[in-house]
């Protein structure tokens, strides 16, 4: 690979990055500027948030169960199975709950946002809106971002709660007393963990919404382009969630 090719790739990468942050910046500014599309926000909240409830419940339930199962196996030789509730809670609330809920939403919602906006781009509906005098960011991006900013922390809380139920079901099967399970939870957690658990999804919501919208609005070609964009949005969002989670965790640890 010669220098010219590397140069071209780097220029394209930084140009895309610049455009991505420009869109994010313009969207954040427009969160506070009229007009507000309340109806569009309600539709998106239902479509992106409420409809994702079931997969988050399933994710929480089975992750909690498998976490408890593995913890029980590890803790049994040390006669410390009473701590299983705490271990499930600490792992889920701080890390797995936000990340798994966001990844599920990224897969389900991120691809849907991209496909919807991508289709609007290739069928010239976005151009038609612009000609009609609409601010595209305000009309299409802001309601989706707001819906996810509200929905994802709530979905994460649901995922966390259901995972504790899942952990309890598994523990009960192994004869752990319910009181012991519940009492173990505060022993492993502090209040800051709860703050961490609902702060992370805000950042992940920003990533899922902005990536979905950015990739969707930059879709080129026809049906094939829309498919490629949807795939790209899911992969990008998922990777960005994992990377961001690491840095957010480092920051939270530093302030502990």
């Amino acid at each position: 690979m010669n220098i010219a090719v590397i140069d071209k790739i780097l220029i394209r990468f930084f140009s895309e990055l610049q455009n991505y942050f420009a869109l994010a910046g313009q969207t954040l500014i427009r969160l506070f500027i009229r007009p507000f599309y309340y109806r569009e926000f309600a539709i998106q909240f239902d479509k992106l948030g409420f409809s994702s409830l079931f997969i988050c419940v399933l994710t929480g339930l089975f992750t909690g169960m498998v976490m408890a199962l593995q913890a029980l196996i590890q803790l049994k030789p040390f006669a410390a199975t009473s701590y299983v509730g705490g271990m499930v809670a600490a792992t889920m609330v701080k890390e797995l709950g936000p990340v798994l809920a966001s990844m599920m939403v990224a897969g389900r919602v991120g691809s849907a946002i991209t496909a919807e906006l991508g289709t609007m781009v290739v069928t010239e509906q976005v151009d038609a809106m612009r000609v009609e005098g609409t601010d595209i960011i305000k009309r299409l991006v802001v309601p989706r971002l707001l819906a996810l900013l509200l929905a994802l922390p709530l979905l994460t809380v649901v995922t966390d709660a259901i995972s504790l139920v899942g952990g309890y079901i598994m523990s009960a099967g192994y004869g752990i007393n319910p009181t012991m399970y519940i009492k173990g939870i505060p022993q492993f957690m502090v209040f800051q963990d709860l703050i961490e658990g609902v702060t992370k999804p805000l950042f992940f919501a920003l990533i899922v919404a902005m990536t979905g919208c950015y990739v969707g609005l930059n879709t080129k070609g026809g049906a094939e382009g829309v498919g490629a964009s949807a795939k790209q949005a899911v992969v990008l969002s998922s990777v960005m969630i994992l990377v961001t989670d690491f840095f957010l965790s480092k920051i939270f640890v530093a302030f502990r």
Binding site: P35, T123, E124, Q125, D127, A128, M129, R130, V131, E132, G133, T134, D135
Partner: protein
């Protein structure tokens, strides 16, 4: 070259991936002069419409609405001026999450200057003008190609623009559909709207325009009326009007 009531472009260059679509292109659409842009597929005809609307940014040159040069301006700075122009896209570009009525009243709902009742009156009026008033509660997916184009025309008319652009308005329609659209365009012109059309359909072009612009290899090679076009010595224009066996796969 600019007039206070005209739309156009000067010395405009536009390329995609280093492929020139338009080179040093001059174009003027005067109020009251209906015009058609002709050229083979891929010549850049639709690009001209999008550049004139500010949907695409040129690499150099200028686009102007009357005395306002929009090149280099942010979209929010010429949104008001652009409201004088409407466009009927090739596929209609109807918003598929909205009903026909909501599509037609979209701009009016967005502007929020009229009451719900007044907007509904305008919607009924415009749908009646294009003859699809019974489709008011249908979604675009439930319409035929011809109906979609007519609804798109109704949407374009809703905000009472001075200029209406048509991108291949008759493509994919049966002869009756073509006749209906052609007739609608003539009625709009009779009401004082100025039209700019991009098409391959010569009978429609000749029936609805006074001036013709011919594009070839990113440049304007002909500008004139129907008679001048029919008598033109330019080989590309002659070939476009009378394709021969030599035109195959060109």
């Amino acid at each position: 070259m600019t007039g206070s009531d005209s739309i156009g472009m000067e010395k405009l260059c536009y390329s995609i991936n280093n492929r020139a679509i338009l080179k040093d292109f001059d174009f003027l659409l005067e109020r009251g002069v209906n015009r058609t842009i002709l050229g083979v597929s891929g010549a850049g005809k639709t690009t001209i419409l999008k550049l004139l609307l500010g949907l695409l940014k040129p690499q150099s040159g200028r686009v102007f609405f009357g005395d306002l040069c929009i090149t280099g301006l942010r979209e929010s700075q010429y949104r008001e001026q652009r409201k004088r122009i409407a466009i009927v896209f090739q596929g209609g570009a109807l918003f598929d999450s909205m009903t026909v009525g909501e599509n037609v009243g979209y701009r009016l709902f967005e502007e929020g200057k009229l009451t719900q009742g007044e907007i509904e009156k305008v919607i009924c009026e415009k749908l009646s003008f294009v003859g699809v008033e019974r489709a008011i509660n249908l979604y675009p997916s439930e319409l035929s190609g011809g109906m979609k184009k007519r609804v798109a025309i109704a949407r374009a008319l809703a905000a009472n623009p001075d200029y209406i652009f048509f991108d291949e308005p008759t493509t994919g329609l049966d002869p009756i559909g073509v006749y209906n659209i052609c007739n609608l365009i003539q009625r709009l012109q009779a009401e004082g709207k100025t039209t700019l059309m991009v098409t391959h359909d010569l009978p429609t072009a000749f029936a609805t325009s006074e001036r013709f612009t011919f594009l070839h290899q990113a440049r304007l090679i002909f500008e004139g009326n129907e008679q001048e076009m029919r008598n033109s010595d330019i080989p590309e224009v002659r070939e476009f009007l009378h394709p021969t066996e030599q035109s195959l796969f060109v």
